[in-house]
Structures are given as structure tokens and as C-alpha cells.
Subunit: 305 residues, 2 copies
């Protein structure tokens, strides 16, 4: 029962449902749920898009009158071997094409962890000792490879009018998911490139704790690099899988009033994506989840935008 976009609620004019929040839904179901709740936009994940088929996904979202606020996600750029590098570049070029086809400029990048991390395909080898650092744990070298891969991808992204959006992940994911841990570091990596081609996303879950956050959000705004604002709360105790410790705004420790004001003052006028990974929320009916998302957005985010 996709309904036309004119049903959208004025209060929700910048609210985007990141489809990871309704993980159990197909793309079509998530789009319907967003429309029913009066949301004007969705943030998409590549797995759900591929499942639906790229062209069909693009039509489905466009026919529903929704904007695509971002595509999640490219990245995983930290491989050190030629085959790994080639595979990463190929996959990210595909992601660029997908973003362009879906009609979004913003392709979110989770850049990947250390070579020693379980996900990287290399065993966590014992430290060799002796005089040299262990390459599998060399975080500085890993970050340099990320910078090199971004440089490799920029021309292709430019051709397609897509922006590579660097996401700082919470430092508890530095070993296994992203060696970019702060917004400032993401901006340093973006600096050599035009703001239209390399940007950053502010995700409250990952950056709320950062003592330098106010300054770096202002810097991101001044540089024209804020490509997205993702909101969700930080819950304790951490879930068994720490990725899933995200919660509805208001249920955890994030000061949304303050951070949202900083983002607004930095000049960001784009969509606000709610992106929650949380098993209990995934187990709720999709319409209930979207209704709660909208209610919490009105209460904790909208007044401060």
C-alpha cells in the first residue's frame, strides 16, 4: 500500500529511515513502512538492494516518492596484498555505480580494521618480537593504506557524481571494523580531496564521547563535508555483539540536544537518518519500529536541529 509522498508529515521533513533499523523487512516492505509513517527518505543497505535487484530497487524507491539519503556501505579498504586491494577496489566501484543508480550522492564507507582482525582473513599471529613492529597490528600503516585506496577511488566517484563518505566508528571497533576512530581523523583523511567527492558522516553512537567533537563538527561544516547525520543511542551494558548496542534515541547516554545543535550550527540541512542495530528492535513489527523512531525523533532531535 505505497502511498504518495504528499502524505509526508512536515515535522518529519528531514527524517530518513535507515533500513538496517528494520532489518527483517525486505526493501519493498521498508519503503512501504517509511511512506506509511510519513517519512520522506530512506537510507539503504547494499544487501537489501542487491536482493531486490538494483534497477528494481531504484524504481521502487522513486515510485514511492522517497529520497535516498545514503547507501551503506562501501569501504573495507585495509587489505595489504594485491588480490585484496584489487577486490576492494572492484567492490567499491560497484558500490559507486549502485549509489548513482539509486539516486544518492552519499556512499558511506566503513574503512575496515587491522590485518590481524578475525574478519581480515589473516590469523592473529603471535607477535614476532625482535626489532620490527608486527605489520598485522600496525595501525598507522593500515591507515595509510586506507588513504591510498581513497585516492584510488576518487576519480571514479567523481565521474559518477558520488561522494565517498568516511565514517568514524567507535574506537571499540578499531581492531576489527574501522581504523578511523574520530571525526577529526576522518576529516584529515578527506582533506586532500574536494568536499563534493569525499565527505564525512556524524553518527552519534560512534562519536558522542569525543572531547573534540564540537570543534570537529564545526570544521566539517566549514569544509562542506557533512554528508549525513545518523542518530541512535548508546546503550549499556554492551550487547554480546557490541555493534548491536544501539538503541532508540532517549534510551541511552547520548546528549542529542547538544550534538544536534552543533550539527545544525555547522550548517547541515540534509536528512537525519535513524540507524539502529538492535536485536530486540529487529524483533518488533516494522510499523511499530518506524512509529517509535518518528516519536523519538520529534522529542530528542527535531527541537534542536
Amino acid at each position: 500500500m505505497t502511498s504518495p509522498a504528499h502524505a509526508a508529515d512536515g515535522d518529519l521533513a528531514r527524517l530518513s529511515l535507515n533500513t538496517a533499523t528494520t532489518k527483517a523487512l525486505t526493501l519493498a516492505e521498508a519503503v512501504d513502512a517509511a511512506v506509511r509513517a510519513g517519512l520522506p527518505a530512506v537510507g539503504l543497505w547494499r544487501d537489501r538492494v542487491q536482493e531486490a535487484g538494483l534497477e528494481r530497487a531504484a524504481r521502487l524507491v522513486a515510485d514511492a516518492g522517497l529520497r535516498v539519503s545514503s547507501l551503506c556501505r562501501g569501504g573495507f579498504l585495509t587489505a595489504a596484498d594485491d588480490a585484496g586491494i584489487a577486490a576492494a577496489l572492484e567492490d567499491n566501484r560497484r558500490a559507486v555505480v549502485e549509489a548513482a543508480t539509486l539516486g544518492t550522492r552519499e556512499l558511506v564507507f566503513v574503512v575496515g580494521g587491522l590485518p590481524a582482525s578475525p574478519g581480515a582473513g589473516l590469523p592473529a599471529s603471535p607477535h614476532p618480537g625482535g626489532a620490527a613492529a608486527d605489520p598485522a597490528r600496525d595501525v598507522a600503516a593500515t591507515r595509510r593504506r586506507v588513504a591510498d585506496r581513497i585516492a584510488d577511488l576518487v576519480p571514479f566517484a567523481q565521474e559518477h557524481g558520488v561522494r565517498l563518505v568516511l565514517e568514524a566508528l567507535h574506537p571499540m571497533f578499531a581492531a576489527d571494523r574501522a581504523v578511523i576512530s574520530t571525526l577529526g581523523q576522518a576529516l584529515d583523511l578527506a582533506e586532500p580531496f574536494p568536499a563534493e567527492t569525499v565527505g564525512v558522516v556524524v553518527d552519534t553512537y560512534h562519536v558522542w564521547w569525543d572531547p573534540d567533537l564540537e570543534r570537529q563538527i564545526a570544521r566539517a561544516g566549514a569544509e562542506g563535508r557533512i554528508a549525513g547525520y545518523q542518530v541512535c543511542d548508546f546503550l549499556l551494558p554492551l550487547a554480546d555483539d557490541a555493534l548491536l548496542s544501539r538503541g532508540y534515541m532517549g534510551d541511552g547516554f547520548v546528549d542529542f540536544a547538544t550534538i544536534t545543535r552543533w550539527v545544525g550550527q555547522a550548517g547541515y540541512t540534509g536528512d537525519v537518518e535513524v540507524e539502529i542495530f538492535n536485536q530486540a528492535i529487529w524483533d518488533q513489527p516494522g510499523d511499530d519500529v518506524v512509529a517509535t523512531v518518528a516519536e523519538r525523533y520529534r522529542r530528542h532531535v527535531l527541537p534542536f536541529l
Copy 2:
């Protein structure tokens, strides 16, 4: 079977056993284990000291010929109410006296989390919405209170020849244990005070991921504020209690060669404490733990000091 300090091993001349690593042992047992393994120093925890009695603990360690590299821990300074503030100041003055009595200058501070955190005694109240930020989640205000309490305690610490050692904790503990999340932030807080009275500790578990770490370690050295170097590894997956995800050096993701070189280049010549919270290690016999600590120290830390 306490044996004289001349049994100490030259390689281990800077290795200190933080007694949290051998949590099941009494203070006397931990001291014996350190001496048997040829270690010249111990880092003490207040609970084990109080259990033994302060004067007796001081004698016990001195008679064994051991240095006390630090006392853990003071802090928990984030209370906003008068009674909470008074209680924190009183407890920390007691900790200063304990440190002086035990013959260590270095009193490690874990500064405490947000008022909304479970440990703070206030319920995690729902965000009030409206125009104001929620004080229970206001991390900037919480940090200002930490600065105020440090200023309150500095004269007393100076009188007793004790240094307040600010510890940056991993950002995953920012909500519930320490609103100091980076070494740079700890140094900013220390800046108004003499280096002899407010210092910092570098704990690899908490700071290894920080893109600014090299620069901040150099700054800490230049300012004369490195009061301790604590080593242990960062393990994944995180333990149910993330505090316990610490491991023996070499078992996780920390690049000890690089960080240890930075600490050495910064001019630090003091003790290196091994401080591991890990249930599996706590379940091992104390002598085995200390032997493994010494072996891993020789392999992963000593060559780079």
C-alpha cells in the same frame, strides 16, 4: 617465602606487577609471587591494601624490597550534588594519604562517568525534551566538574608529595567509568597544574587506537607528566564485562613495539606495570600468571623500551 630484592632479574628491572592481575591473591601472596619471579615493583589496589591494613601493607612491601609503582585508584569525581562532591573529596584525600604511606608518588585516577550511568546512583531518566540539554547526559559539564575536583584536591596532594595521575579510559567506558577518553584530553586537564602534582598514565588497552597517540605521548613526556606506563593487550570479542577484555601482551591487537618506542622516546624511565583484568587469567595459579607476564614483557615490551 619472601626473598631479598637482590634476586631481581636485570631484564625485569622496570617490570611491576599490578596486583589486579593476580586478583585472587592477598597482598602478601602477590608480593611473594612478584619477589619469587624476580620483579622489583608492584602496583597496588586500595581494596587489597585496606584488607591487609595500611601500615602493615606498607611494611610488607618495603620488607620485601619492592617499589610501589602506583596506587590504584582514586577518582570518581563526577558527582553534581554537594553530598556526592564531599564524599568524593574525602575518599580521595584518604587515597592520597594511603599513597604517601605506601611510599608511592603516583595515585591513579579513574575519574567517573555520566550522572545517568548506572554506577552514579541516579536513574537513567528519560530525556526531558524541550529546549534544555539533559544534565544527566551532559558530558561537557561532567568534564568541567572533574576539572573542579582536581583543582580542589591539588593542594592536599602537594602537601603529601603525591601526584594525581589522570587515566584516559577507552571510550567504551565514557558513559559509566571515565569521561576522560584520550591522553590529549587528560593532558589538557592536567595543564593548569604542576607536572609534579598532576600527571597521566599511558595504558595501552585504553589508548592504542588513538590516531593522535604518538603526538600526545611526546607531549606528555615533554611536559614531564608521564607517571606510569601500563601494558596489557586488547582482546576480541569483548568479554561480557568489557573491562575484562584485557589480555597478556601478544594475545590481542596492540602494537607494543610502536607504542613502547614512543613512550621510551618521550623520556619515560619509570616502571612498566602489567595490569590485566581477565577472568581466565584470574583463574590461573598466581606464579604461572607472573611467569607469563614476565615472559611476554621480555618478548613484546622490553626490546622496545
